[in-house]
């Protein structure tokens, strides 16, 4: 069958089962858009900015577990997409980004809208390709999806020159399988390593499971839950891992790390056996490495060998699919007598009594924590929650316990402000039956506001829960603590009227200024099933995220919100614990 490159590309995407593409047209991809126009099985979502396209594809991928797909033009189309690509890369999200490129004949001549896409994205993709010949197209697309979705997933860029999309060639169909001698993601678990891990677990008095994003990405929720239940061990989850194990379960000690719970961080610090599952010992988790888990033997389960020993030396590593390794552990532990860890649980329950997430409410002021708790209540804890980056992100992670994986969608590794709104759109397209809430702030929301327009066009009703404190809150918090309250550039003057703004985009806007109006407004918002509702909630501008491990401190040196006189601001003092 004779087809042009653009038609071949579209056929490849169809054959891959792609249902949604998030993109933005331009000169170099016009042939592709022409071919897409004739395709009835793929919905194209026309975003308002390429960064939004990639974040939306990312939110779609995180929610569905499928590969996200994004299509952008050359030059500025690609450079706008880079932040989204880097966001997906840092959190290991499967994604294929297709970018147009100037015609092969003019590559290197500084042609109109030419950038070296492969060069620019090299350090923030799992792999990338430049296709200059239509005959290479189908195999390259096959490779791209294969690489993006296997092993440790990640974004793959396919940069396609315009002449490739125009050239007509004999098309022999999409390859069914692909083999690459230089890329073999399948791996056998080393049983000796599993046995070593079991030997450590058997001897432990104070074990803890530390589970990360790999448990979500690797769809290991069920096996992780089984291992945790079988052993009776406490489990703490990273920001990226929340929901793989039910956050409301009694064996869950909450999130760990910089803004983790007291009991999670203390348990890590005192533990003699840490079972790290799909987690990469990020600096926001470990705090000061010299003070990190001084008594623990560490078992590291990961699909990526380069994660092992990168930050923290470990005692045993088991490389493989998280699911497979956990299953091997469960089998290996069967029939073994585990030590009595009742004293360990007693200790943990003592730490729990510190109630490190307690906060004081103040008459006449809406506390941001209260908003998240109300959101949890109104949605029965069943919503998909996306977030932007900053204080609101931490509060959402702390006060909205997730009982299922793929319900908490946030940019953990790169910390990309602007992620939340387009990601919510992608999440809603992936799970149209579920409620989607985008928890954001007055700073973050303004980075991707234009996507409100896309959300109207494609009818993706989400509830935007904007914690409006007039500040770049996390910046303000650090300036308060570490820069003697010099609030340099963290105050946002001249905010728009978000209600009118939402309305001008065709959505519903509700401003909430009093606590008594909070829950009714949330209930009203979620009643509007088919509408996007923007809740502009005026919250305490002085509230800080606690607990906190300040930089340079260890897990046992957390700052807790003032215990004695919990005032509305933190001026009342911090306790160094």
């Amino acid at each position: 069958m004779k087809l042009n490159g653009a038609q071949i590309l579209v056929d490849c995407l169809k054959s891959e089962g792609v249902k949604h593409i998030f993109g933005y047209p331009g000169g170099a991809v016009l042939h592709i858009y022409d071919a897409l126009d004739a395709c009835t099985t793929i919905d194209h979502i026309l975003v308002r900015h390429e960064q939004g396209a990639v974040h939306a594809a990312d939110g779609y991928a995180r929610t569905s577990g499928k590969c996200g797909v994004s299509l952008v033009t050359s030059g500025p189309g690609l450079t706008n997409a880079v932040t989204g690509i880097a966001t997906a890369f840092t959190d290991s999200i499967p994604m294929v980004v297709i970018s147009g490129q100037v015609p092969s004949a003019v590559i290197g001549s500084d042609a109109f809208q030419e950038v070296d896409a492969v060069g620019i994205t090299r350090s923030c993709v799992k792999h990338n390709f430049l296709v200059k010949n239509a005959n290479d197209l189908a195999e390259t697309v096959k490779k791209a999806f294969y690489i993006a979705t296997t092993g440790r997933p990640g974004p793959v860029l396919i940069d396609i020159t315009k002449d490739t999309t125009i050239a007509e060639i004999e098309y022999e169909g999409y390859p069914e399988t692909i083999k690459m001698r230089s890329y073999q993601p399948e791996m056998q678990i080393n049983n000796e390593q599993v046995a070593k891990a079991i030997a450590i677990i058997e001897k432990s008095q104070k074990p803890i499971i530390y589970s990360g994003g790999g448990s979500v990405i690797g769809n290991a929720s069920e096996v992780l839950t089984a291992l945790t239940r079988n052993t009776g061990f406490p489990i703490t989850q990273t920001l990226m891992g929340l929901g793989a194990y039910p956050g409301t379960d009694k064996q869950s000690v909450g999130m760990l790390g910089m803004h983790g719970t007291y009991e999670a961080n203390m348990a890590m610090h005192d533990s003699d056996c840490i079972i790290a599952v799909g987690a990469r010992f990020d600096d926001r988790i470990t705090g000061n490495l010299e003070k990190f888990c001084p008594y623990a033997k560490i078992i590291h389960i990961d699909i990526d060998p380069s994660s092992v020993g990168k930050v923290v030396g470990v005692d045993v590593s088991v490389i493989g699919q998280v699911n497979d390794v956990l299953y091997a552990l469960i089998q290996g532990l069967e029939g073994k007598t585990l030590p009595n860890i009742d004293p360990w649980w007693q200790q943990i329950n003592e730490w729990r009594k510190v109630d490190s997430l307690a906060y004081k409410t103040v008459e006449g002021v809406i506390k941001p924590q209260t908003v998240i708790e109300a959101l949890y209540e109104v949605t029965n804890g069943q919503a998909i929650v996306t977030s932007d980056v900053g204080q609101h992100q931490m509060w959402a992670a702390q006060y909205y316990p997730f009982d299922k994986p793929r319900r908490w969608i946030n940019s953990g590794g790169l910390g990309t402000m602007g992620f939340g709104l387009p990601a919510a759109m992608g999440a809603k397209l992936a799970e149209p039956e579920l409620e989607v809430a985008c928890v954001t702030g007055d700073g973050s929301i303004q980075m991707m506001l234009q996507e409100l327009s896309t959300m109207l066009q494609y009818h993706t009703p989400v509830k935007i829960i904007s914690l409006n404190n007039g500040y770049l809150g996390m910046v303000r918090q650090w300036q308060e603590f570490f820069y003697e309250k010099r609030y340099s550039m963290s105050y946002m003057d001249a905010l728009p009227d978000f209600v009118k703004l939402a309305e001008s985009y065709g959505h519903i806007g509700i401003r909430v200024e009093k606590e008594e109006d909070l829950k009714p407004a949330l209930i009203e918002a979620f009643k509007q099933k088919d509408r996007t509702v923007f809740l502009d909630i005026i919250t305490d501008p002085n509230e800080n995220v606690f607990p906190m491990i300040p930089s340079g401190a260890g897990h046992h040196e957390m700052l807790l919100a003032g215990r004695d006189e919990m005032a509305s601001t933190n001026d009342s003092g911090l306790n160094l614990v």
Binding site: R122, L130, M180, S182, P305, S306
Partner: protein, 158 residues
Amino acid sequence: MRHIISIQLENESGALSRVSGLFSARGFNIESLTVAATNDPTLSRMTIVSVGDDDIIEQIVKQVNKLVDVVKVTDLTATEHVERELLIVKISISNNTQDDVDAQLDHFNAKVIDAAEDAYIVELAGKSQKINDFLAALNADQIIEVSRTGVTGVCQKI
């Protein structure tokens, strides 16, 4: 410690910059780097000399291995291996110095590949240390230009 990392990778455009970009992005150091196609024209061999403690070398090997274009990574220094580097050096000569230079060439078994009236172009292959010693043995004023290939090598095991 000095390590020689031998990398077999797909002979494709951009493969070199994936490896060198990885080194700069992750702050690994490169003392020397050589690359050329092998007997299999679809494969290149790249040889990198890097300096770092065991943890860093382990990370280098793992990170390079992770690159999709990389087929195999070996730390040659961890095995029995041979290594060589090629030096081409331009040396000025005069009636006064020629005997000294000839003596050094003999001593190091270096070969003159181009002889002009006032200069030699000399080649010497050997371990890096031998090349360092040879250059040190010449009078610094006589050295006009130095070009070294960087180290390449193979492991001795079949």
